[in-house]
Amino acid sequence: MTESLERLVASVRETGEWYRLAAALPYFRFLDVQIEEGEFGLITIMPANDKLIGNPFLPAIHGGVVGAFLESAAIIQLLATHETESIPKIVNLSVDYLRSAKPVETYAQAVIAKPGRRVANVRVEAWQGRRDKPVAAAHAHFLLR
């Protein structure tokens, strides 16, 4: 990387060029994560991709990938809201799988339920098509420093 992550995060907050953050992290690139500013905060998007399929017979996105995507949305929200300057470390994650995730574009929005000096609690929901029919929901703790 040519630029330190802290500097990148600070600059992206100013400019809103979220794609630069998504491009800086290998696993975000692997998921091809896109970040957009929605009406009520950032929306993280995971485009459809055959390499994410966990069950070709349904077909469905791998449950682990859904969990990874929820975690990614939480990390992005924490970086965006100044909770942390470096990549927060995940402490634990609990995912409820509500519906089978079809191999289509998937969205997620994270809410920081409890910001903290050292630990944050984040809730995340992922959906496809209809927002009121989430495919998965998670809550997670992150160590901020």
Binding site: M1, L5, A24, L25, P26, Y27, R29, F30, L31, D50, K51, L52, I53, G54, N55, P56, F57, L58, I61, H62, G63, G64, V65, G67, A68, F69, E71, S72, I75, S86, I87, K89, I90, V91, N92, L93, S94, V95, D96, Y97, S100
Partner: protein, 168 residues
């Protein structure tokens, strides 16, 4: 829910079930390492493209989640003694320490309780010593979650057909 779509468990078929039935595992290099009477171990070789923090080179938690979800699901077949359609209901993971960069990550899962409809699983991700875990997880799975044929059954049938063709 009908249990008619279950087929008897065959440890020999597991590798093929994962290869053909869970394509994403193949994409990121997850393989079955060991199957015994009580559980399953899978391995995720270290990969640069799964890194979550480029400064430390530590894998993204999501890669560990995927390894644990995969091995936990497959361990349900062992606990059930059958291949059946299953779906993850929930998965909780404690990330106990960062995975060490540049070495294989293993995960062992045991399905410790099966009821008529639900399977309960615990799993540990580690670097070779289960007593020095990277992550610990508990999860639950719905059994016979779909009316469609379980993917493992489809693969088991393919395997049987191949055996017949090769005259074994």
């Amino acid at each position: 829910m009908s249990t008619g779509n279950r087929v008897p468990f065959d440890p020999e078929a597991i590798t093929l079930v994962v290869q053909r039935g869970i394509p994403h595992c193949g994409v990121i290099g997850i393989e079955v390492k060991d199957v015994d009477k009580t559980g399953v171990t899978m391995v995720l070789p270290y990969r640069e493209d799964l890194v979550g923090d480029p400064r430390s080179g530590v894998l993204h938690g999501g890669a560990i989640t995927t390894l644990i979800d995969s091995v936990s699901g497959v361990s349900v077949y062992v606990g059930l003694g059958a291949f059946a359609a299953i779906a993850t209901l929930d998965l909780r993971i404690d990330y106990l320490r960062p995975a060490t960069p540049h070495i294989d990550l293993l995960a062992r899962a045991e399905c410790y309780k099966v009821t008529r409809q639900i399977a309960f699983v615990r799993a540990i991700a580690h670097h070779g010593d289960v007593n020095d875990p990277v992550a610990h997880s508990v999860s639950t799975f719905m059994i016979d979650s779909s009316e469609t044929k379980p993917l493992a059954a489809i693969v088991a049938e393919e395997l049987e057909a191949e055996r017949k063709r090769s005259g074994k």
